[in-house]
């Protein structure tokens, strides 16, 4: 975790070996039963895809975990925007990377905006923008107590 996040700080790269099991686990536990996330025959014949593909809910979960693992559990996700450019399939060596783009003080916490990439070798699979609230210092009140007009993600 960075105690004082700064623009251009880079998060350490996270490498994930994508498997058939991990794609199906992600789809099933996010309640997504579209066949292209669990049925390889359907994915190849009807979907014209190389294999089953990771669903967008799982990608959101991976991005969320990547960011909150870095900033710590006291941080609170405010906004996530992502574009899926190419599919993520079993056997893909997925790499998550991120860089801080904006740090904005608000009251007793900081809004931190990051650019995240999910890449398979040189291929960009997904790009994402994340906005997360981080306590300004260790003793700051929890950002989770903010609601209504005091929480503007």
């Amino acid at each position: 975790m960075t105690l004082q996040p700064a623009v251009h700080d880079r998060l350490p790269t996270r490498r994930i070996g994508v498997t058939t099991k991990s794609i199906i686990m992600g789809a099933a536990t996010s309640r997504d039963w579209q066949p292209l996330h669990h049925d390889v025959v359907w994915a190849q014949s009807e979907g014209r895809l190389p294999n089953i593909i990771m669903n967008n809910y799982t990608q959101a979960g991976l991005i969320s975990a990547y960011v909150t693992d870095w900033f710590g559990p006291a941080a609170r996700l405010g906004r996530l925007r992502f574009s899926m450019r190419s599919p993520i399939c079993p056997g893909d060596p997925l790499e998550l990377s991120g860089v801080i783009q904006v740090v904005e003080p608000e009251a007793d916490f900081l809004w931190v905006s990051l650019a995240i990439e999910l890449a398979v070798a040189a291929r960009i699979a997904t790009t994402a923008d994340v906005r997360i609230a981080v306590p300004a210092v260790g003793q700051s009140p929890s950002v989770w107590h903010r609601s209504g007009a005091a929480w503007r993600p």
Partner: protein
Amino acid sequence: MAVSDLPLLVRSWIGQAVVTVDHTVTVEKASWLSFCAAVQDGNPLYWDEAFAEAHTGSAIAPPAMLPSWGSAYDWFPGKEGDGLRPMELHFLLKEAFGYPNGIVTNVEIEYHEPVRAGDSVRVEQILRAVSDERLTRLGPGRDWTIDLIYRRQDQALFGRHSISFLAYGSAATHQEAS
């Protein structure tokens, strides 16, 4: 957005909550921990009641699971027909235009109040915009954006979710990506 070539039915849907999913699933800790296991998320707010008490009052579900709580069970006692499909409004649009294929292109989620075990959500699916038909590299198609508003049973705002789709093609091929 030009609306000149939109069917009247679709035009009447713009800006309206066409589909509502009303508290069909109860948020459960075992369900969200299974998702955490799938994405290897060890955040103690989701796992550790003692830790979560200081920050959120009790353990919360991962915010990234927001859309999952608006997806009905695939089967339930007394179910008749297909029931509501996940992202039902998207399928209604595909059927209205006759496009067999659809892919998600962009997703944006704004997270507000968390949900905990025992909560449930009401989701409104609102059609924000539909493009004119255009020729894509996958054939004739249209872009549309659906906004989803999630509220807990106490009416607190849980989140806002926007999904943009490209629907396209002829009846000869079928592809659905999410």
